[in-house]
């Protein structure tokens, strides 16, 4: 019989990536059609604009078992809605600083700007982020035990 307790499972993080419809989601698409790889544990959620992401989305992702959350949008100045990502930048800057103040690891959440033409960058960003989170380990400080138990 297999001994489950001593079996050492390699940690594969769950990553949630919020991608804006106009740039980063298209960037992910380009990465795919260019046959560039990025880890399969990155789960993309398409949002109309990076500024659609409410701080609660990020916390909710952590609650539901994410180990890292990355938010991707158009480069500042290139927003489809002209100014959306400027607001994102301020919101996330204050939120990230605040999460760190609460003692949550600062590397766990990240913002990256990826345009529709940057398929290669999308893949590089995701590879790098997954590597960071794998080194960082499991999300314990913002996880919900009730969700974990149900897994």
């Amino acid at each position: 019989m297999q001994d489950v307790t001593t079996e050492k499972k390699e940690f594969t993080p769950n990553i949630v990536a919020f991608c804006c419809n106009w740039c980063s989601y298209a960037g992910a698409d380009l990465a795919g059609s260019s046959r560039l790889t990025y880890p399969a544990n990155v789960k993309i959620i398409r949002v109309p604009c990076s500024c659609r992401v409410n701080p609660m989305f990020i916390l909710k992702a952590y609650q539901q078992g994410a180990d890292g959350v990355i938010l991707c949008g158009c480069h500042p100045g290139d927003c489809h809605y002209v100014t959306g990502n400027y607001y994102t930048r301020r919101r996330m800057a204050t939120l990230f600083s605040f999460l760190n103040y609460m003692g949550i690891e600062k590397e766990r959440t990240r913002v990256e700007w990826v345009s529709a033409a940057e398929g290669a960058r999308f893949s590089a960003v995701m590879n790098d982020f997954v590597k960071t989170i794998t080194e960082l380990g499991e999300n314990k400080r913002l996880s919900d035990l009730r969700v974990k138990e149900g897994e």
Binding site: L59, Y86, G103
Partner: protein, 326 residues
């Protein structure tokens, strides 16, 4: 303070009797000397029976104007310096009808915290008398003299606020401007390591019983519908059944008022568990001051807040930690 109270009472009676205002918002006597509560007075008799203004009137009255300013007739309200910031902020958000409110600015001289008095070992307090920096506290067990700066409310300890709005004023004594740093405690936390901070907040937030008092008292937290009342949100539990919910509630509560919080300190005053909630709000204020320029919510009833404006040169979120760019 007694002279101020008498003058306020006289003026309130005058306004009601002449019909200039339909109601007066002030403080009414509680069961004990240390628990006066906000109240709406509609007649001169009500004023005579219950009106009070003393060292325990710490409550911020501006939030009550959201409802009463929509009623018929004018409302007179007594506002302390810190309350006027919340008033301005609510006018800015179109929650208070400014033209329906008659603001009477009253002096403050710092309010006392009954919890801090109790912590000094004085219970069953029956009255206080303040002489300069000494507070003579009388209780059922006799009289004790306490040092005032040690027993004032947290919000008063670092306050240098002045009235931002007034239609008339009742100020008999000036409060001296002091040299205080309201971010001192935030800086202390920032200097800790990540693990220490996590432990600190875990200890503090695990005391939370989710009574929602901090939300209910906050002038900035006055949405008609609140996410924490939505039973489908998964975070509306009345008692925390997971550590996550404690953090979720407090992060979202603090973030929701970021840029609009005037640092009136009501959240910490009402918390039955004495969680230092003002340290969460002040972190946002400090960060936004550092990153986007000094800003005090409620200084004006016009203009944009840091989170509803931007510049092209703003710092990247990944580079910002501890309120400073790397």
């Amino acid at each position: 303070m007694k002279d101020v109270e008498l003058k306020m009472l006289e003026r309130a009676k005058e306004l009601l009797a002449s019909g200039e205002v339909a109601r007066v918002v002030g403080w009414k006597k509680g069961d004990f000397c240390y628990d006066p509560s906000p109240a709406v007075f509609k007649t001169v008799e009500e004023l005579e029976n219950g009106f009070v203004y003393d060292y325990f009137c710490g409550a911020n009255l501006s939030k009550y104007l959201i409802d009463v300013s929509k009623k018929e007739g004018k409302t007179a309200v007594f506002l302390k310096p810190c309350d006027t910031y919340s008033f301005n902020q609510l006018v800015k958000e179109h929650r208070i009808k400014r033209e329906n409110v008659y603001v009477i600015a009253v002096e403050c001289m710092a309010k006392l915290d009954i919890e801090k008095i109790k912590a000094k070992g004085v219970s069953f307090v029956t009255g206080v008398e303040v002489v300069e920096k000494d507070v003579k506290v009388s209780s059922l067990y006799g009289e004790t003299t306490l040092y005032k700066p040690e027993i004032v409310l947290e919000k008063c300890a670092v306050c240098n606020k002045t009235h931002q709005v007034k239609d008339e004023e009742i100020i008999l004594h000036e409060r001296p401007v002091r040299d205080v740093n309201r971010f001192a405690e935030v800086e202390k936390l920032e200097a800790m390591t990540e693990d220490e901070r996590f432990a600190f907040w875990k200890e503090q937030l695990s005391k939370c019983i989710r009574c929602n008092a901090c939300r209910n008292v906050c002038p900035a937290c006055s949405c008609i519908k609140c996410v924490f009342d939505n039973p489908n949100s998964g975070i509306a539990a009345k008692a925390n059944d997971s550590e996550f919910e404690e953090k979720m509630f407090h992060i979202i509560r603090a973030y929701h008022v970021a840029g609009r919080c005037t640092d009136c300190g009501e959240c910490s005053r009402v918390c039955p568990q004495n969680i230092p909630l003002h340290l969460l709000n002040r972190k946002f204020i400090k960060d936004m001051d550092g990153l986007y320029g000094e800003y005090q919510a409620g200084e004006s009833s016009e203009g944009k807040t840091p989170l509803t404006s931007y510049t092209e040169e703003d710092k990247e979120p990944n580079d910002v930690f501890n309120g400073e760019a790397k």
